[in-house]
Symmetry: C2
Subunit: 174 residues, 2 copies
DNA sequence: GGGCGATGGTTTCAGATGAAACTATCCGTT
DNA sequence: AACGGATAGTTTCATCTGAAACCATCGCCC
């Protein structure tokens, strides 16, 4: 059995088999390998790259919309955009109908970088995935979807932590 | 096909299907949900919790050994340990045979917290995994192992980025 | 058309983080 | 036993990050 729970009669925690920990280690290693790459070659941070990635496929988004599509918060987006503006990689035009909103798009310079990064990113992904069989890739896809949905569900549950805690300690709360 | 690469005849990047991105979003959501929990209830950061988690199952480790087992670097461990020492959750005894080395272990107070957290952590993991079938759990386990090994392999490759880049642009390097 | 709550976005401040410098101890060599 | 390089661990410094405060504009209501 792969997870701790399966054998959890007497509670025992082995970090190496604990899913949140494994996820975190794997992700950090993947991210930092890739980040180093983006950064060395293009001086892009991950937030900046994410903003460029979405603007590369859909233009004229507001910062709010970029945030929604990248799972970043508005502060992160604001900072990434500020830096990209300074480097003339994206441009902002105030929305004609709403003075608060800035419509963002790649400049030609930004587009050139985008066009160079995309094959690179895909190649990196392919290298990673080359360790998996076709079935495993499909399974990974499905499992990640399910886990994502499950996290959303759990987060949406009001007072998740409390509920869990109540489950574990039915009568006493501290 | 689940990944971008499979359809990469004309390079196109959809962030939502890009593995490193998906991993990162999923992990961050899992981690921050859990971190909020540890932090609210016990005033523990993730690094601190990791240190406690390994000391809970193996005592008298050095900071170096803790780092190795948690995939943290020595600075992170040093800071986490400093904070745990101050809170009297772990204790350090200088190694009798080597004055540089501190042997770390949980104090009774630390052990009490550990004993309270472990079932909680396992329960959280179980909630997450409850979205998956048995087969899917096994597949997840296998796939994560393979991906981890692949990342190691790629990182071990000298000058990974350069090699990739060379593959993509056989003749010109900027 | 003048307030007023809501929304888009930025700035500030304080704590977290990483890289590199630093300290202390150790071990092998002479 | 003294030097020099290696190792354990800490501190410093500069950057990053997140939360909350902030500013501007908007849409609604009177």
């Amino acid at each position: 059995m792969p997870n701790n729970l399966a054998t959890a009669e007497e509670p025992r925690l082995d970090l190496d088999r604990f899913l949140p920990y494994r996820l975190s280690v794997l992700t950090n290693r993947v991210s930092s390998a890739i980040a180093r790459h983006y950064s060395e070659r293009f001086g892009l941070s991950i937030p900046e790259w994410r903003v460029m990635a979405v603007l590369g496929s859909v233009s004229d988004l507001s910062a709010r919309e970029v945030a929604a599509r990248t799972a970043m918060d508005k502060v992160q987006v604001s900072r990434a955009v500020a830096s990209l503006l300074k480097a003339r990689r994206v441009q902002r035009k105030t929305d004609p109908g709403d003075g608060r909103v800035g419509r963002l798009s790649l400049t030609p310079r930004g587009r050139a970088i985008y066009d160079e990064i995309v094959p690179l990113a895909l190649h990196l992904e392919a290298l990673l995935l080359s360790a998996l069989s076709g079935d495993e890739k499909l399974a990974l896809d499905r499992v990640m979807l399910k886990l994502s949905r499950q996290v959303s569900l759990l987060q949406a549950t009001r007072d998740w932590a409390t509920i869990i805690h109540a489950n574990l300690h039915p009568a006493t709360d501290r």
